[in-house]
Symmetry: none
Subunit: 495 residues, 2 copies
């Protein structure tokens, strides 16, 4: 079958993948290894590459190649790949190269400065860089929205969760808002009766790292195709062939790093198990940010905070950190399911986490739409933290609106994905339990293979073959249904 | 002053520098971090970037831009930069793509087979591949020599040491040859009387790494602009703004890693101190391979094996590896200056090392010129090893002419740089001592700043502003003079 236009597009995407590989590794290195004086040159190099990739993704021939390929005789997967090529093309061609380069430079600068500024609680310094990032992000959103009828915010949201709209987020988050504060109160009352033994530190970084590596092995991470390092903001980067996970360590508490590592392992295994024969092509990529988060939360929350899972984790903890009463499985699970409203999103428990996301969504949406300005963020943050979690963050930028670097990196429209992911994850496990009624017994017996097999088959190996709603329907038999998340929280925390 | 062509060239070189930055970091990562399953994707990514950089360096407009810029009104540094742009352009454009590809194929075939062939002492197998590499290297040399009036060998030598000619190498190596074998005998006789205490291992990798980092601090490495990691083949990579040094550790002996680290620190500081305002341009690059080696050998040999330096090193060694009689300064210096003719170049001491290089030069020059053929190598090797070092290598290809992979990789014309570097280093220190008669006392007092200041001013900050002979003359007041190297060896080893 002769498919010259499709074949040409296929080769161009291989090339983008190869050059993007160097960019991904250099970005990981920037966070995990790079000394401070390397930052300016690195930012310029990444901006240059960003511009080059944008140039390759916007070459004029692509439009007619996509049109010609649509008329070629393609197999189903090729046609799906072509659909994703078109999606990538539309995303890339909305923005002029000058904007792509300016964004890359502004984001790198803002992120780099943030490291020291956050330590110094220096909002005044940070806002100077953030203002420019937001200005460019609004410009990007306007161009993305042009001609689609989408609002500026929806145009950004669509980049991370194709097909998702703020109206839908409003509905789902509105539902959450209607029962979450009450649920938090109920859980807090129930847990007030419980005795929980705190682990006694300090825990050396070396011991925590060894524990984290063992947890990654338990979760099936392939160390021949990836590694674990440290960075101030943990992430899962690199390329599917070589996944670069990072974490950070606190000597006084090992759980944030341990559970963060298990979380990133979920991202990492998704990447490591994408369809190999499609790597380098749009079809070979992870479906969406929300889907990605559904994997990390399947690992961290659905499995990691499962009462039976604590029996698998407990011996690992004792092996690396010594014997302590706190490490007993029942207590370990109580520690992991302790609900405690706090300042920091990444340290938040499963129940209060959605409140952090709702808060950010309620700030970033009007921020992009131009209804508020960066100067308004702290006051809004303070008000919403008090309203949703009853916490006072006034003057505490470090643990308030400067805790995340997302906005400083121009990553706006992304936060909802965390809670969408939590909902998808609850839906996956509800589906698994229908198919395997003994699932919880198998987890208790240390047999995690059924979970990994289900995820590999239904999510990982699907790549971007289907659009999100279709993937969700094929995997679980229905579209996104927040009832599963509610049932999960009620069963785990009030059951 | 309007200089449109020069400005255009300037911007194109900035772009090459930025993209090359990502390539350098990814290459470093491949050696220092990358898990095995990442290799195929990484190799494809680096090859893609290599092709892209070659394409950018051979764009047809460059020729006329260079011609136009030559007629523009440029300042002295700009003109020097343009001269170096021209050099880079000629190197990239001398060879047709077909030859570049044939060379790359032949080199990797030869190198790959060499790994097993060397183990098996299989000269007959190796020579089959080497013949093709030499044939293509002669073809390359012919094209590089075309129209320059250079001989084929000189055309290759000029790639690594701009301005150096084999007539000059003949002169300095001829001088060296006239006194080196006798000097080696004298030193051996003198050292036969000495008692040297061997260090007692094992030495943990962690302790050796901490020692190496302290040695780098002593040598002034800027850890805000670089780092030290591990790889199986130590090198100094990265970019001037972010130098990535590597070393490897042997638990039974700490000196190879320690002195290797000090050696690479010399390369690293050269890169870190290139003229900042010219970074990204050819003028901002290190001058040559020989000059680079003159920095690593200034650190490793001129300073590192200086009797007074042992008094600075000894407390560092004891701090990290514990107290041992072997670590006493006098003994440490005897260990570092032990002369012992051996088969292997990379294990050779300061005094016998030049013999290994002279031998290779005396074979590779006539080989490229077509005066001998690959079949003649073993007999020449055997004769010269006996003549220069009194060692019998007959039939021992593994530790003889198959020990280095340089020729098999098509790297011919490079070997002289090692000993030119040693000679330059001796010349720098002779110059410093004329200007600062108390230099050795200052080294003994731990004051290394005068050395670093001199190197920074005379070598590092000069970048590629001058061709090598001119740089040498400006730095030391004369052209390369082997008498300084002779005086250095006599003073250190027979004094
Ligand atoms: Zn995540
Ligand atoms: Zn070197």
């Amino acid at each position: 079958m002769s498919t010259p236009a499709y074949t040409e597009l296929f080769q161009r995407h291989q090339r983008l993948h190869r050059l993007g590989h160097l960019q991904s590794i250099a970005q990981w290195d920037q966070s995990a290894n790079m000394p401070p004086k390397g930052n300016e040159a690195r930012s310029l190099a990444l901006a240059e590459m960003g511009g080059l990739l944008h140039q390759l993704a916007t070459e004029p021939q692509l439009k007619s190649l996509l049109e010609q390929a649509a008329a070629e005789n393609l197999e189903a997967d090729q046609r799906a790949n072509l659909r994703e090529m078109g999606r990538a093309w539309r995303a890339s061609n909305a923005l002029p190269q000058s904007l792509v380069e300016a964004k890359s430079l502004a984001n790198s600068r803002c992120e780099h400065a943030w490291r020291a500024q956050r330590q110094a609680n220096d909002w005044a310094g940070y806002v100077e860089n953030l203002r420019e990032v937001v200005r460019l992000t609004r410009e990007e959103a306007t161009l993305l929205a042009d001609g689609t009828g989408l609002s500026r915010y929806d145009a950004l949201l669509d980049l991370y969760e194709p097909g998702m709209r703020s109206a839908e987020v409003d509905r789902v988050f509105g539902d959450l808002r209607s029962w979450l504060p009450a649920l938090i109160r109920q859980v807090r009352e129930k847990q007030a009766q419980e005795t929980v033994i705190r682990p006694v530190g300090p825990f050396t970084q070396a011991a925590q790292k060894a524990l984290g590596l063992d947890a990654m092995r338990l979760m099936g991470f392939d160390f021949e195709a990836g590694r674990l390092d440290e960075s101030s903001h943990p992430f899962c980067g690199g390329v599917p062939e070589d996944v670069r996970m990072t974490t950070r360590y606190r000597e006084d508490d090992f759980l944030p790093s341990l559970m963060g590592t298990i979380h990133e392992t979920g991202h990492g295994r998704y990447e490591q198990n994408l369809p190999r024969e499609w790597l380098g092509q749009p079809l070979g990529q992870a479906r969406s940010m929300g889907l990605h988060e559904s994997q990390s939360l399947s690992f961290e929350m659905q499995l990691g905070s499962h009462p039976a899972f604590a029996r698998l984790l407990s011996p690992l903890v004792s092996r690396h950190l010594g014997e302590q009463p706190a490490f007993e499985p029942g207590n370990l699970n109580r520690l992991l399911t302790r609900v405690n409203p706090g300042f920091i999103r990444v340290d938040a428990d499963e129940v209060t986490y959605p409140a952090h996301v709702i808060l950010r969504y309620e700030i970033e949406r009007p921020l992009v739409e131009g209804e508020i300005e960066v100067e308004d963020i702290p006051a809004l943050w303070d008000a919403k933290m008090m309203e949703l979690l009853g916490l006072d963050t006034r003057g505490n930028y470090k643990d308030g609106c400067m805790q995340d670097v997302h906005w400083g990196c121009g990553l706006i429209g992304y936060f909802p994905c965390y809670t969408l992911g939590a909902m998808y994850a609850a839906q996956w496990f509800a589906t698994m339990r229908r198919a395997m009624p003994d699932l919880d017994a198998r987890i208790a017996a240390g047999d995690l293979a059924p979970v990994f097999d289900w995820l590999r088959e239904n999510i990982w190996l699907q790549g971007s073959r289907y659009e999100t709603p279709e993937l969700v329907r094929r995997a679980s038999g229905e579209t996104l249904n927040p009832a599963h998340f509610k049932a999960h929280l009620q069963s785990r925390y009030l059951g």
